[in-house]
Symmetry: C2
Subunit: 233 residues, 2 copies
DNA sequence: GACGTTATTATGTATATACATATTATGTCA
DNA sequence: TGACATAATATGTATATACATAATAACGTC
């Protein structure tokens, strides 16, 4: 590092992160304005701005017009999870991916499913159930309801070579989603499918996806208790 | 309203997101270069660049120098979770927060805890256990090990008015973390503390935080099965 | 045709400038 | 004093320009 400090916004961001971590800038403290910082770092205000904005997005800074920028008092740090398709998730972990279609038919959706999708009353939907395996062992049981009004072209699909998961991500991108994670107990049927004991703990992910104003699909994904969802930040 | 009615990068980003969602730009397809897009939208290249970069960060676009920008083939969408302080989490949900200190002493850390923190051999650490309650009901059982070398000033703390969680976020910001989520079964002790039945499913979050090269704390947070972790995107 | 070198090109970043916008601080008048 | 209009200010965004960088395409040599 030469006397003329590196001035890429990455370096500036790192230096500011260091100051926050080492409490040079204490939690809650007002830090210098962009103008001042740009002079200190010997760069343009836009460069400082970009570094500050990224730190603010990460939750360690709080910015308000006119009021200035301050170090977050309660750093509500945010973690980012990638939401891959199951096949990729398994293959990334080094497993051999397979999936097994368990059922695929049009049915009247139960009330709670319709409610989760924001629909006033139950209606016919495509109900697809399948099991994803890693190295031959059950990895995830997927129980999915698909709104045929939103994705009519899925009607004839047999899902013999492609899983509904993958079909949907490549044929019907969504713009909004709600994801819920929780722990639960395996029902008799679920335990049987996943090859675990009844009443065993399972890791459950539920996801509803939408295009503006229109629900596409509700899916409940169930993993054996051995599953780990990991993230770094 | 034409596509070029507004030219803020937000609007441009939204328009491009729409084109991706509606498959005007199909998955895997190469989209026009920044120069071309800036002409189409009637704005500067920098504006298009910002919109494209944000979409790329969100995972719907993949950019490579010289090769250009294409729509992600397998949109590894990313979800963002805020990691709030438990107290905030409870209060945000409208609960009355309380916490109860269960134990607070220096002990030799078990081997698996030391390993999780990247330490070669076990050593003395501060072991703090406490229970966080929402409206008087057990919400989270926190079992924490703190590396006294990294945070020596915590030694005398009694945690009578402030939880270790809150003490650490305000006194020792971290720069890296690894977070693991999974489902498990409550041990007899855990079940007793959380007020659930033994063998009930529980939602477990484990987190190790570091300052560069130095582990600060390992914490295991256990929620009753009724707990829901929710995110939108 | 197989190779290493060079040119080309799309994105990445920096800069000065300008104006927009939200919010606070200030001043005025009843 | 209190309500309300007005000025001041820090951040937010847009723009034209310039150069950096990575990856590909083109080329020439053997």
């Amino acid at each position: 590092m030469t006397a003329t400090a590196r001035k890429s916004f990455h370096a500036i961001k790192a230096e500011m992160a260091r100051r926050i971590a080492e409490r040079v800038w204490a939690p809650g403290a007002l830090i210098p304005g962009e103008e001042v910082l740009s002079i200190e770092f010997g760069c343009a205000r836009a460069t400082v701005n970009r570094a500050l904005q990224e730190l603010a997005r990460g939750g360690v800074l709080v910015r308000k017009r006119k009021a200035g920028t301050r170090v977050a008092l309660h750093p509500m740090r945010e973690a980012r999870f990638v939401i891959p398709i199951v096949r990729q998730e398994i293959e990334t972990k080094g497993g051999a991916y397979q999936f097994r279609l368990l059922s695929n038919q049009v049915e009247k959706a139960p009330g709670d499913v319709a409610r989760r999708m924001g629909l006033a009353k139950a209606k016919d939907m495509l109900h697809v159930r399948c099991l994803h395996l890693s190295d031959g062992k059950p990895y995830q049981y997927e129980d999915r309801w698909i709104n045929l009004d939103a994705v009519p072209s899925i009607r004839g699909e047999t899902f013999e070579t492609i899983s509904p998961n993958e079909w949907l991500v490549t044929h019907s991108p969504f713009s909004q989603a709600e994801i819920v994670f929780h722990a639960g107990v395996a029902s008799a049927q679920e335990a049987d499918i996943l090859g675990v004991s009844e009443k065993d703990a399972v890791f459950i992910v539920e996801r509803v996806t939408f295009v503006p104003q229109k629900p596409i699909t509700f899916v409940r994904m169930i993993h054996p208790a051995s599953h780990r969802m990991v993230t770094q930040l």
